[in-house]
C-alpha cells in the first residue's frame, strides 16, 4: 500500500466519523424537538427586525400584523418548519457544519457579539494553545523518562513510577486542578486562581506575556499531571517489549555499543506504537481540557461548554460538540500522517 492510499483510507474513515457525529447530533436534535426550538428562535429574531422596518412604512396595525404574518409563513417554510424534522436533516447538517445556529440568548463573545459562530470561533485559539502546550510538555517528559525508566526495569524508581502513573490514571484531572487552586492560589497565593490575564491586562507585550504565563501555569500543570503518568507507563512498556525481542539480543551479542542498540534497535521500532499512543491520548486531552478550562476559568471552548450548560444554551452546545469533534479529527489526521511517515511498515 502506498503512502497516499494509506492516508486516503484513514482520511475517509475520519470523514465518516465526522458525518456519523453530525448525523447523531441532528437526529437527536430533530427527534427531541430542539432543532425546532433553535429554528423558531431564528425566525422570531428575524421577524422582530422585519417588524421594526415595516412599522416605519405601514401605519395601520391590522395591515402590519397581516404583513408580518405572511412574512412568518414565508420564513417558516424557508426554514422548513412546516415540514417534519426528518425531512429537514440535510439542511440541519449544513447548518451545524457552517455553525449557522443563530444567536446565543445569554452569552456574548469578547467583542460583544451574540452570534454563535463568533462566540465559538474566537475561543478556539485559547483552547488549542492550552492543549498543545500541555501535550508537548507531557510528550517530551513522558517519552524521555519512559525510555529512561525502561532501562532500569524492576528498580525501585521503576516501581515508584508505575505506582504514580496508576494513581494519575485514577485521579480526575479537574479535581487535581481544584486542589492546585486551593494550595497554590488560596493558601500560598503564588498563582492566580483562574482567567487568562489579570484585569486589566498589562499594556506592554512583555509583561503581558509574563501575565499569561502566570495564568497558564496551573492549568498546564494540571493537564500535564493528568496526561504524564499514562505516557511514562506506556512508553516504558513499549520499550520494554521491544527490548525483549530477539533482534535486540542479537545486536548485543554482535558486540554493538549499548548506545547504538538503544537508538537503532530499540527506539526505532518502538517509536510508531508510542506515536499511536500519542494519537489516542489526544482524545483524553480534549476531555481534560474541557474540565481544566472550567476549573481555571480559562476562556476557551471548554469553559464555554460549562457556561452554555449553566445558561441552558442549546445552539452553543451543538456548535461546541461539533467543533470539538472536528478539532479531534483534524488532530488525528495530522498524527496519522506523521505516523505513516515514521513507520515504513504501514507503507509496504
Amino acid at each position: 500500500m502506498g503512502v497516499g492510499k494509506a492516508l486516503l483510507v484513514k482520511g475517509i474513515t475520519l470523514v465518516i466519523v465526522l458525518l456519523a457525529v453530525l448525523s447523531l447530533i441532528v437526529i437527536v436534535l430533530g427527534a427531541t424537538g430542539v432543532s425546532d426550538r433553535i429554528l423558531e428562535a431564528y425566525v422570531s429574531e428575524q421577524l422582530r427586525q422585519i417588524r421594526q422596518e415595516l412599522s416605519q412604512r405601514i401605519k395601520d396595525p391590522a395591515q402590519l400584523e397581516q404583513a408580518i404574518e405572511s412574512y412568518r409563513q414565508e420564513l417558516r417554510s424557508a426554514f422548513g418548519l412546516d415540514k417534519p424534522w426528518y425531512l429537514r436533516l440535510p439542511d440541519m447538517v449544513w447548518r451545524v457544519l457552517t455553525l449557522d445556529l443563530g444567536k446565543s440568548r445569554s452569552l456574548t463573545s469578547f467583542s460583544g457579539s451574540n452570534e454563535v459562530a463568533v462566540i465559538v470561533l474566537e475561543r478556539i485559539p485559547n483552547t488549542v494553545v492550552l492543549i498543545t502546550t500541555a501535550v508537548v510538555i507531557s510528550a517530551l517528559i513522558g517519552i524521555f523518562s519512559g525510555v529512561k525508566i525502561a532501562t532500569k526495569a524492576g528498580s525501585r524508581l521503576d516501581r515508584a513510577v508505575s505506582f504514580l502513573s496508576s494513581i494519575s490514571y485514577a485521579m480526575p484531572s479537574w479535581w487535581t486542578g481544584i486542589i492546585f487552586i486551593l494550595v497554590f492560589s488560596f493558601y500560598f497565593r503564588i498563582f492566580p486562581p483562574g482567567g487568562m490575564y489579570s484585569t486589566p491586562p498589562p499594556e506592554d507585550p512583555f509583561t503581558r506575556g509574563l501575565d499569561l504565563l502566570r495564568h497558564a501555569a496551573l492549568p498546564v500543570l494540571t493537564l500535564v499531571t493528568a496526561i504524564l503518568g499514562g505516557w511514562i507507563y506506556v512508553s516504558r512498556t513499549i520499550v520494554l517489549n521491544v527490548a525483549q525481542e530477539d533482534f535486540v539480543e542479537a545486536a548485543r551479542v554482535r558486540g554493538l555499543p549499548e548506545r547504538i542498540v538503544m537508538w537503532r534497535y530499540i527506539l526505532r521500532p518502538a517509536a510508531p506504537p508510542i506515536m499511536t499512543n500519542v494519537v489516542f491520548s489526544i482524545a483524553g486531552s480534549i476531555g481534560g481540557a474541557i474540565l481544566t478550562e472550567t476549573v481555571f476559568n480559562w476562556p476557551g471552548m471548554g469553559r464555554l461548554y460549562y457556561e452554555a450548560i449553566t445558561a441552558f444554551d442549546e445552539p452553543l452546545i451543538v456548535a461546541l460538540t461539533f467543533l470539538f469533534t472536528l478539532i479531534y479529527i483534524i488532530t488525528r489526521f495530522i498524527l496519522e500522517v506523521l505516523y505513516v511517515l515514521l513507520d515504513p511498515r504501514v507503507r509496504y
Binding site: I25, I167, T294, Y305
Partner: protein, 477 residues
C-alpha cells in the same frame, strides 16, 4: 491455569491484597447505605434545603479541634420530649415546662440558635410560649414570647397546630427575639441597642456572653434552657420541643453551605459509584468482547461490518458527545450509563478480534471444526475461555473510566439531580465558590473518594496482570 491457581498468583502480590482490602471497604459502605438509607434519599433529604435548616452552614469537621488546639463549639441539639414539670396557676391556667441543662465550655459562641415545636394540641385557647435561658450565675433571660396562632373557627376541639410540619423559629433572625434581648440588655447592663442592632450583633452573642467594652465575652459554664407553655386547659399537650445551638464544627466531614452533612452525602456516593462503575464495565466488556469474538472468528462481511463500525465509534471523542447527549436528553444516571456503554466497547473489540484471529488457526479449533462443533460452540466454549482472564482484567481496568466519566459530567452540572454523587458534591462546592473561600473539607474528600474507588480497581487490575498470559499482556494498550 486453573481457577484456584490463578487466585493464588493473584493474591500473592501486595497490590492485590491492598486492592481487595479497599474493595471490601467500598462494598461494606455500599451495603450499609443500601440497608439504612431511604430509596429516595436524594430527592427527599439531600436536595431539600428545609431538611438541613437546623444544621450549621459551612462548618468544618469536628475533629479539626485536635489540629487547631482550641475548642470550637460543637452542634448541640436539645430534644425535650416530656415536660420536666407541670404547674397549676390561678385563674385556671396551667403550665407545662420543658427544661434542658447543658454545660457550655467551648471557646466560641454558637453560630445560630433555633427553637422547634411540634404538634401542639389545645382545647380552649391557644397556649402562650415563654422561652428563657438561665445563664451561669443563675441569671434568667427571657428571650422569646410567642402567641400560638389560633386555628380558623369551625373545627371541633381538640385543635392542633404545627402537626403536619414542626414549627421552626430561627431565633437568631427573629424580630420578636431581638426585641426581648434588646430589653434585657437595657435592664441588665444599661446598654441601649435597638432590636435591629441586636440582630446585627447576634442574639447568640448577647445570650451567651457579657459586654466587655465594645464586644461580648463568652460566659462559660452551666446553662438551662426553659420553654414554658401556658395553657388554659389541663388536657393541652405538646409533642416535643427542640432547642438547637448551631456549632462552628460538625460531625466527621463537616457541612456544605446549605448545612448538609457531608458525611451522609459522601457515604451515599459509594453504592452509586459502584453501580456506575461495575454496571458500565460489565456491559461494555460483554458487548466489546462478544463483537470482537464474532468479528475475529466469523470473518468475511460480518467482520468487515463490525470493523468499520468499531473504527468509527472508536474515533469519536467521548466527553463532547456525552455532554451533548446528556444535555439534550436530560440528565439521568441510566442515560449516562447507556451512553458510556454505547461508546465504550470498540477498544476491547479491536484487541479481542486480533487475539481471536490468532486462536482461530490453532489446532484445538481445527480439531473442533473436524468434530463438527457449531460456530457458536467454538466461539463461546473454546475460544472465550482462553481469552476470558484477559477480558476480565480489562473489565476491572475500565471500571474507573466510567466512575471518572460520571464524576466529570456531574462536575459540569449534568449529574442526575435525584441521585447525589461525589461529582455533584464537588460541582456544588465549586459553583458556590468553595475553593476560593478555603472550604477544603467540602472539596478534598469527594475527590479523594473518587481516587480511592478508582484506584481500588486499578490495583486489582495490576494484581491480575501476572495471572493473564504474558503474551496477551503485551497486546494491551
Amino acid at each position: 491455569m486453573s481457577l484456584s491457581n490463578s487466585w493464588r498468583v493473584f493474591i500473592s502480590s501486595n497490590v492485590s491484597k491492598v486492592g481487595i482490602m479497599f474493595l471490601i471497604v467500598i462494598i461494606g459502605a455500599s451495603v450499609y447505605v443500601l440497608a439504612t438509607y431511604p430509596a429516595d434519599f436524594g430527592k427527599r433529604y439531600w436536595n431539600d434545603p428545609t431538611y438541613w435548616a437546623d444544621y450549621p452552614k459551612g462548618a468544618p469537621p469536628a475533629w479539626i479541634k485536635y489540629l487547631a488546639g482550641d475548642n470550637p463549639p460543637e452542634h448541640i441539639i436539645l430534644f425535650m420530649k416530656e415536660p420536666s414539670s407541670r404547674e397549676v396557676y390561678q385563674q385556671g391556667l396551667y403550665a407545662s415546662i420543658y427544661t434542658a441543662e447543658f454545660t457550655y465550655n467551648y471557646d466560641d459562641f454558637p453560630s445560630f440558635l433555633s427553637l422547634t415545636m411540634y404538634n401542639i394540641t389545645y382545647y380552649n385557647k391557644p397556649p402562650l410560649v415563654i422561652a428563657s435561658l438561665t445563664r451561669p450565675g443563675d441569671e434568667e433571660v427571657v428571650f422569646f414570647i410567642f402567641y400560638i396562632p389560633s386555628t380558623p373557627s369551625g373545627e371541633n376541639p381538640p385543635y392542633r397546630v404545627f402537626y403536619e410540619n414542626p414549627r421552626r423559629v430561627f431565633l437568631s433572625g427573629e424580630a420578636a427575639v431581638w426585641q426581648e434581648v434588646s430589653r434585657f440588655l437595657n435592664d441588665r447592663y444599661g446598654i441601649v441597642l435597638s432590636p435591629s442592632e441586636v440582630g446585627k450583633v447576634g442574639v447568640e452573642k448577647i445570650l451567651f456572653g457579657e459586654p466587655v467594652g465594645d464586644v461580648f465575652r463568652l460566659l462559660k459554664g452551666r446553662y438551662v434552657v426553659r420553654v414554658a407553655f401556658i395553657h388554659s386547659d389541663e388536657r393541652d399537650t405538646v409533642s416535643y420541643v427542640k432547642f438547637v445551638m448551631g456549632g462552628k464544627v460538625y460531625g466527621l466531614a463537616g457541612t456544605d453551605s446549605l448545612g448538609r452533612d457531608l458525611a451522609v452525602g459522601l457515604l451515599f456516593g459509594f453504592p452509586v459509584a459502584l453501580l456506575i462503575g461495575v454496571l458500565t464495565s460489565t456491559l461494555t466488556t460483554t458487548v466489546g468482547a462478544t463483537l470482537g469474538i464474532v468479528s475475529g472468528y466469523t470473518g468475511g462481511r460480518t467482520d468487515e461490518a463490525i470493523q468499520r463500525v468499531t473504527d468509527v465509534i472508536n474515533n469519536i471523542p467521548l466527553l463532547p458527545i456525552l455532554i451533548f447527549l446528556v444535555f439534550i436528553l436530560k440528565p439521568s444516571i441510566w442515560l449516562i450509563i447507556s451512553i458510556l456503554i454505547a461508546f465504550g466497547w470498540p477498544g476491547l473489540t479491536i484487541v479481542v478480534r486480533s487475539m481471536v484471529l490468532q486462536l482461530r488457526s490453532s489446532q484445538l479449533v481445527e480439531a473442533e471444526i473436524a468434530l463438527g462443533a457449531s460456530r457458536w460452540r467454538i466461539m463461546f466454549r473454546h475460544i472465550l475461555p482462553q481469552i476470558a482472564p484477559f477480558i476480565f482484567a480489562q473489565m476491572i481496568f475500565t471500571t474507573p473510566a466510567a466512575i471518572l466519566a460520571e464524576a466529570a459530567l456531574s462536575f459540569l452540572g449534568l449529574g442526575d439531580p435525584s441521585i447525589p454523587t461525589w461529582g455533584q458534591i464537588l460541582d456544588y462546592g465549586f459553583r458556590s465558590g468553595g475553593i476560593y473561600t478555603g472550604y477544603w473539607w467540602w472539596i478534598v474528600p469527594p475527590g479523594l473518594l473518587i481516587v480511592f474507588t478508582s484506584l481500588t480497581f486499578v490495583l486489582l487490575a495490576l494484581g491480575l496482570e501476572p495471572v493473564i498470559n504474558p503474551r496477551l499482556r503485551s497486546v494491551k494498550k
